[in-house]
């Protein structure tokens, strides 16, 4: 008698799952941040597995590059991470410049003024990128208002970019050996003063708003409940998946290329690298969605600090473009990485001494971060998938290239 009862109860225990439902989230979906397609295997609301399918925005960037001269590739990098196109330009230009420096017969150097302009504009671009990330994350979690606040502020930044390079999204501003002079801004001119004044006005306007956004969204108890402890990416996991940038720092690893492998003139500025810590009063643990999100909010403040230091120093005099007849790097290969808003952006270039690269490979931070999604999302709910995608902040243009 007893044994039959036991077997019966066993049968009940063995069938806790209902049928599996396979749902395609994307490629057209409001919150997959572009054309990501997730194959969700659902058990009710619980996700048994989320398999990302990428490639819907693949445009053969790397193969194209093999048929273009180096300056011609820069507009293509704009289309990688179109949210932070300045940083993509810069990452590529830095790699080519390193390659050019290998040729000792030419004395190649990027002018000081160009370096300052690059840092200034790229940090502003980082703010714009993180603002978008903040806004869309709020929208992913159902709060629509932060999205419009973020766009309001981003609009001011885009107007600044428009002023300096004529474009709002795909800038093609940072060139090999300097920055674009398409809109002339001579040192000491009224145009320069106006631009710097406007940057300062933006910073004065924007800096208190970060705290306001923290009050509005970051510390909102529903928001905290939705993100704390969700999809914890441990430090080991972050390293093994190659997560970089805010995702890595969100997992508690103190690593920022701007500070640890300083390139350009970042060693001249004083800034902190925000790293996630446990926040017991909110219940957030290192590596969860809340921490990854919070890193971006803190990084905006640091970017403001860097830009303020540039404004205090003022832009140095001189040309904005190196004296470069033609971009013809020596034979060799280079891998150079820089800290884009979404993490380490690396470019691997093989040159055979011709004006076109033999091979070009982009190392995209979003691609690595996205690869962790499958492991992060196992056993969570549909709503959490959205929270994870938002918190790792992917841009499909960069994932697919």
């Amino acid at each position: 008698m007893e044994t039959t009862q036991q077997t019966e109860s066993k049968i009940i225990e063995l069938k806790p799952f209902a049928d599996e439902m396979v749902v395609n989230m994307g490629p057209q979906h409001p919150s997959t941040h572009g054309v990501l397609r997730l194959e969700l295997k659902l058990d009710g609301e619980v996700v048994r597995e989320a398999i990302p399918h990428i490639g819907y925005l693949h445009r053969c960037f790397e193969k194209h590059s093999e048929n273009l001269s180096y300056p011609q590739i820069i507009p293509f990098t704009d289309r990688m991470d179109y949210i932070a196109a300045m940083n993509q330009n810069w990452g590529f230009c830095l790699a080519v410049e390193k390659l050019l420096e290998m040729d000792e017969s030419k004395n190649f150097e990027v002018p000081e003024r160009a370096e300052y302009l690059r840092v200034l504009i790229c940090e502003l671009n980082r703010i714009a990128s993180h603002l978008l990330s903040f806004g869309t994350y709020g929208m992913d979690l159902g709060a629509f208002t932060p999205f419009l606040y973020a766009f309001r502020d981003r609009e001011r930044l885009l107007l600044l970019f428009e002023k300096i390079c004529g474009a709002r999204l795909t800038y093609n501003y940072i060139r090999i050996g300097g920055v674009s002079e398409i809109i002339p801004m001579e040192s000491g001119s009224i145009a320069e003063q106006n631009f710097l004044d406007e940057v300062e006005a933006f910073l004065d306007y924007f800096e208190p708003l970060i705290d306001e956004y923290n009050e509005l969204l970051t510390k909102n108890s529903i928001f905290v409940q939705r993100t704390m402890g969700v999809a914890v990416m441990s430090a080991e996991m972050a390293l093994s998946y190659g997560a970089t940038g805010p995702n890595l720092r969100g997992s508690g690893i103190d690593w920022d290329l701007r500070r640890d492998e300083p390139y350009s003139i970042y060693d001249r500025f004083d800034f902190d690298v925000p790293v996630a810590v446990d926040v017991p009063e909110l219940g957030a643990v290192v590596g969860d969605c809340w921490c990854r999100y919070k890193i971006r909010m803190d990084e905006m403040k640091e970017s403001v600090r860097i830009v303020r230091q540039i404004l205090a120093e003022g832009l140095p005099d001189g040309p904005v473009m190196a004296d470069l007849k033609a971009v013809r790097p020596p034979k060799g290969e280079i891998y150079f990485r820089s800290e884009a808003p979404r993490g380490e952006l690396g470019f691997y270039i093989v040159s055979d001494g011709t004006p076109k690269p033999v091979r070009l490979k982009g190392r995209s931070p979003c691609f690595s971060a996205l690869s962790a999604l499958q492991e992060l999302s196992r056993g969570l709910m549909v709503a959490d998938i959205i929270a994870i995608i938002g918190s790792i902040d992917i841009v499909m243009g960069e994932v697919d290239r």
């Binding site: 439902m21 749902v23 979906h29 409001p30 919150s31 659902l42 609301e45 709020g138 929208m139 992913d140 979690l141 159902g142 709060a143 629509f144 208002t145 419009l148 606040y149 309001r152 004065d204 800096e207 208190p208 705290d211 009050e215 509005l216 969204l217 510390k219 909102n220 529903i222 928001f223 409940q225 939705r226 009063e281 403040k301 303020r308 709910m381 549909v382 709503a383 959490d384 959205i386």
Partner: protein, 423 residues
């Protein structure tokens, strides 16, 4: 101020029922429509016609006429509310909202309605066609049927059932049928997910909703909406929300649960745009979609109006004997206040997750609602009659409770770090 009531009486609109529709209310089983025929129509007819007047048919006609007025007027409400929502959200978000169609964009909703009528009426080929076509009508009809029992003022209501609030609960539960039908028949996985979320949510939140209504029913000892209002006729402190501390809690449970019932943020999981596209109405287009939309906004007003009727004095004013915030305009102002609160919440808060939504209902609201019923019973034993003393004690407890709640919940506010100075 004393002749405020007289002033309103001079304004024919507000007293239309008193002047033209005597005894509109159903009392003691009398049929108001029949009485209207007997008392108003027949005496005014010529002698020869009056003796042969078919009272039964006339009764039905009068009822249809009244229903026609409601069916004609109430759908205008969402028209206003949709615009209000867009304008309110715009103000929250540093925008102006619709400005192009008509002055300040006030005709925008009308333009949208026209657009929706002309859109293709798409029916998913693999779906269940009959259910797909039926679902929006069920939801639409149910959310408008609720209005039949809402007393807008002393005379402006379709019917004062003796089981008014019970009827409202019953009718609004049928909405979930339409939602499931819509989700199932669309043959879309997102729709199905949305409709099942909605079913789980509405069924769960109906329990605290019903229990908090029960608190009111225990205090008033009637299910009739008009009697509930009539019991709150002695000014603001006779409103049920202040009558006992338990009713005060019940109001909040009722209001939050009704936000969940009408699927609005932070409980808008069934139509969570960023998660499951548009939930149960993903596959709907054109006028069928508009029906869902209208029903949603009508529902929003309906639950606010019910909350006002049950807890905030209905159409009774804030001072006994005066029509300040009373009558039809007062009722609408109070209801719109709650509607605005819902919009405010919607444009501020993120969305809960399914398990958190259920936790909130089953772990917090239902136990508290049961405790409320117990408390209301004990309160009724201690204070069988509402007196100045009982109301004062109740208000004092509410006041102390609010202070304590602020101290507990606002602790985080006080510890908030000071904003970083700009350097």
């Amino acid at each position: 101020m004393s002749d405020f009531r007289a002033m309103l009486a001079g304004f024919p609109y507000f007293n239309i029922s008193e002047n033209f529709f005597p005894n509109l209310r159903l009392q003691d089983g009398r049929n108001w429509a029949e009485e209207f025929i007997q008392n108003v129509v027949i005496p005014r007819l010529p002698e020869a016609v009056a003796s042969h007047f078919p009272v039964e048919i006339g009764t039905v006609l009068v009822m249809f006429a009244c229903a026609g007025v409601f069916v004609g007027v109430v759908p205008l409400l969402p028209l206003v509310l949709v615009l209000a929502e867009r304008k309110v959200s715009a103000r929250f978000q540093n925008r102006t909202g619709p400005m192009r169609v008509g002055p300040w964009g006030i005709l925008q909703t009308l333009a949208d309605g026209v657009k929706l009528i002309f859109k293709e009426d798409f029916i998913p080929p693999q779906g269940d066609k009959l259910l797909f076509l039926l679902a929006p009508y069920i939801i639409f009809a149910c959310s408008f049927a609720v209005f039949a029992a809402i007393p807008f003022s002393e005379g402006i209501l379709v019917s004062d059932f003796n089981i008014g609030i019970f009827y409202i609960m019953a009718i609004s539960s049928v909405i979930v049928m339409g939602v499931i039908m819509a989700g199932w028949s669309s043959n879309s996985k997102w729709s199905l997910l949305g409709s099942l979320r909605s079913a789980a949510q509405i069924v769960s939140y109906e329990i605290p909703l019903g229990l908090s209504i029960l608190t009111v029913v225990m205090l008033v000892e009637s299910l009739s909406m008009q009697e509930i209002v009539a019991s709150q006729s002695n000014g603001v402190f006779s409103w049920l929300i202040f009558r006992t501390p338990f009713a005060f809690i019940a109001f909040f449970i009722f209001f939050i649960s009704s936000i969940a019932e009408v699927n609005r943020t932070p409980f808008d999981l069934p139509e969570a745009e960023s998660e499951i596209v548009a939930g149960f109405h993903t596959e709907y287009s054109g006028m069928r979609f508009a029906l869902f939309f209208i029903a949603e906004y009508a529902n929003m007003f309906a639950v606010s109006a019910i909350a006002v009727t049950l807890f905030l004095g209905g159409w009774e004013g804030v001072l006994p004997g005066y029509d300040i915030l009373g009558g039809f305009p007062g009722f609408v102002i109070k209801s719109m206040g709650l509607v605005f609160l819902m919009m405010w919440l919607r444009w501020t808060l993120p969305r809960l997750r399914v398990d958190q939504l259920m936790n909130l209902c089953w772990k917090y609201f239902i136990p508290i609602a049961f405790f409320n019923i117990l408390g209301t019973g004990i309160w009724g034993l201690i204070f069988p009659e509402d007196t100045v003393i009982s109301t004062s004690i109740s208000c004092a407890i509410i006041y102390i409770g609010l202070i304590a709640a602020y101290k507990v919940a606002g602790r985080g506010l006080a510890q908030r770090p000071a904003p970083q100075p700009n350097f």
